[in-house]
Amino acid sequence: MMPRISRMLIAQLLLVMSIAAQAFVLSAQTSERPSRWIAPPEAATRANPLANRAGVVTGGRKLFHDRCAACHGDDGQGTSKGPNLSAAYVQGQSDGALFFKITQGNTRAGMPTFSFFPEPQRWQLVLHLRELRRSPAATIDRGVCSPLGCANRISLTPRARTRAAVRQAGHAVVHESCRRPLWASLAVDGSVGPDRGSGEVDRCCNDRRRP
């Protein structure tokens, strides 16, 4: 009897230890900074088939409220669980890219896969995301130019600035002439890569000017 009990105890102990070890390893992997999340060109160039259909955006609004607001907030302004969807680095992406990301998810960063939604509903969500662009919390003034070329002047909300570690009191100026746009260096959790904080942008651009 004793050997059988001890064998069971050992088996249970091994089970618990193996699960704990697996959890530790996996959590260590995901505690790393999420890599850049960019839609492939063939997905990014897809157009929204519902773009000209009036009234369907209300369905997207309902879906967003039901499925997305828990992480991104009712107004899409972001929470501690999900980034601000009205931010420029989101709105700067094509409809196809947003559709791709809704479909694919990014489980490493906590974004679920929503491929179980029928395709028209995912496009409805994209329509609603575009409505967030008109939210007063995020404004984009296009056409600001500098000696380096045209740039976008992006005003982020104070909250988005904090989360994105953009420490400037005023505007975060992003130069399109840099190697890649700001959104490309932003992780899905909304944080900015160490090389692309607002103070680093000019240095990046200056580096590019050098022969």
Binding site: D66, G105, P118
Partner: protein
């Protein structure tokens, strides 16, 4: 724990869920088959369900269970089950508990999405929820009182493969189970499921009977024998399933399984209700 205390516990959880202010509902239509969609991070899903069996011989039974499913993060979902069983005029019993973990190794959506499943079960031979069917042989028809004294600690693994093809979901599960309390070898099982949402465009209004709230499908599951007893007298079922999303908080689902072999029960009727509660929602 008696079956009446289980019922009281279920009622308390239902009441708690009804007074909560907001939740989501994402519920697979299957009862046995798993797909690749994990619980959303930080969400707690509370579900109650029941398996009612109508065997060809012996007494019918009903096996309720309580399921707490938590999205630990985007790639890990953990669940705890508490189960019971009651038979007509032959007593009731607490069937035991299960701890289940599902891990999704790849971050994006692929043609075939694998999920790894590990479960530890501390149950007894009275367990009748049949969340998976493995091995061979019919269910024991001995009285519940005797069966509940026979404890079984089991380790179960599954390879879950699942695909989204248009509006369809196709899922295949391969099961192996080892009883740590007895030397029964390793038992094998399977389940496959296919389902489809009836909705196209989402309506802008809250509606309960819109097509978009319904998912229809079918699943088939059964045992594939064991290393010690071979592949004799296995049980197999095929079951149409339906899921109804009620508002944005609740989901109801039901299935009626038809036994396909001599060892199988004639029917397995399953009904379930799930409520999703975002417990980690910070601004």
């Amino acid at each position: 724990m008696s079956i009446s205390s289980l019922r009281i516990g279920f009622c308390c959880l239902v009441a708690c869920a009804l007074v909560a202010n907001r939740a989501l509902a994402q519920e697979r239509p299957y009862f046995v088959t798993y797909d690749h969609y994990l619980e959303e991070p930080g969400n707690l899903e509370i579900a109650v369900a029941s398996t009612s069996g109508f065997p060809k011989e012996g007494r019918g039974y009903s096996a309720p269970w309580l399921e707490l499913e938590y999205g630990v993060n985007g790639w890990w979902t953990a669940e705890i089950y508490l189960e019971g069983v009651t038979t007509r005029h032959a007593g009731s019993a607490f069937g035991g508990w299960r701890w289940e973990n599902r891990f999704r190794p790849f971050k994006g959506e692929h043609r075939l999405n694998p999920v790894l499943y590990v479960e530890y079960e501390n149950i007894n031979e009275a367990s009748r929820i049949q969340k998976e069917i493995v091995g061979g042989g019919p269910l024991s028809i001995e009285p519940i009182g005797g069966l509940r004294e026979e404890h079984a600690r089991e380790l179960e693994g599954k390879l879950i493969l699942s695909s989204a093809a248009g509006a369809w979901n196709v899922s295949e599960n391969f099961v192996l189970e080892k009883n740590l309390s007895e030397d029964e070898g390793v038992e094998f099982g399977y389940s496959v499921g296919i389902s489809r949402s009836l909705g196209g465009l989402a309506s802008g209004n809250t509606c309960y009977f819109c097509r978009e709230n319904f998912v229809l499908g079918a699943e088939a599951y059964g045992g594939l024998g064991s290393t010690s007893a071979g592949i004799e007298a296995t049980r197999h079922f095929i079951a149409p399933v339906v899921s109804w999303r009620v508002g944005n908080r609740n989901a109801l689902k039901a299935s009626l399984g038809f036994g396909l072999t001599e060892s199988s029960d004639r029917y397995l009727l399953r009904v379930g209700w799930a409520y999703e509660l975002p417990v980690r929602r910070a601004r």
